[in-house]
């Protein structure tokens, strides 16, 4: 990032390549919309470049880039709510069905594969129904694997609030998925 701050465009391209997957995934899970991922991820990196001199040396770049991504995702959710153009829950299923063939375990039977797809689809839809403030914390923790302290920094919240939001989001998710998980547990 130090080289990017000194206008090194090659360093910027490398930086985008390193973080584009995590940024894209965060946006995709929070918005539940594959179509907007590229545009929003691009906007995140444009902001990184434009504000490159505001980056505090010594702080974690991932925290900074996730802060920008989380804020843009929140803005996008609010913009959509204002326009009453709430995103479709079916979009995620399409994303999942597009990605699944590449990720399927070759030793898995067709039946097991279908069951896994069904569960992943349900989890994706359930995440999309968790309220935004809990969803962001959940995605940062349980999908992107950020530490609680880092999430607190990204969201600008006290650590206790972050823990409480993540616990609530997990509880909501479990309650939503309980019928499906019970069905799968049954012989």
């Amino acid at each position: 990032m130090g080289r990017v701050a000194e206008d090194d465009e090659r360093a910027f391209t490398e930086l985008v390549r390193r973080f584009q997957g995590r940024v894209g995934n965060l946006i995709s899970r929070v918005l539940n919309d594959r179509e907007s991922v590229d545009d929003l991820a691009q906007e995140v990196f444009v902001r990184v470049f434009v504000h490159r001199r505001n980056y505090r040396r010594g702080s974690k770049f991932s925290t900074w880039v996730f802060t920008i991504a989380a804020n843009l995702a929140k803005n996008e959710i609010r913009r959509r709510v204002r326009r009453r153009n709430w995103f479709s829950l079916d979009a995620l299923t399409e994303v999942l069905s597009d990605s699944l063939p590449q990720l399927a375990d070759p030793t898995e039977s067709r039946e097991q594969g279908l069951e896994r797809e069904q569960l992943q689809g349900a989890v994706g839809r359930a995440i999309a129904t968790v309220p935004e403030k809990y969803r962001l914390a959940l995605v940062l923790r349980d999908i992107e694997g950020l530490a609680y302290e880092e999430i607190a920094e990204v969201l600008g919240l006290p650590g206790g609030t972050v823990r409480s939001r993540i616990n609530r989001a997990r509880g909501m998710l479990q309650r939503k998925l309980q019928p499906l998980l019970r069905k799968q547990e049954a012989p």
Partner: protein, 189 residues
Amino acid sequence: MNRCDQARRLFGSYWDDEVTQAEREWLESHLAACPGCRQQYEQFARTLETVGSLPRTDVAADLAERALAAARRATTAPDRIAVVRARPVWIQVTATAALLLVGLSALLPWLGTPAVQRVLAGRNAKVAEPRLVATASRAPEPVRLDSLGIDHTEDVEFILDPVVLHRGRAQAPSRLPKGVQGEQAVISF
């Protein structure tokens, strides 16, 4: 709070490996003894495992190049005309305050002079009545009003204030004896 509620409250911290040794031992012994909590924890763990293993979304292969091109466009282009760069406001404020201080300190010695005190005292003083200065040996030649080019038979405007105009007829009867000159004239209307 019963033991099951207490155990379920620890699920998140246990999953994140953020419990103390004593909490871990207590929860594990409770899970071993309580089938309801064990089933709940299994569902909780399965949910989070699935969340963590959701397929990742791929971004466009050329995102880096697109982002760089957009970033170049977003970087402010240089102005084509020379623009004086605005200085921070605090510099102007500080400079003005300093100038005012210098000005005031220069005025302070002058404010104590007799001339200023007379001016200040005169602001509240009443207009003195005309007093007798001298008596003319003979009556002065009457001034012909028409020689001044002013028609005093018509309404005359008196400007008493830079803004407000009062209209009235000029009447200036002198209370002084005939032939006496006054140092001040009182005009009433």
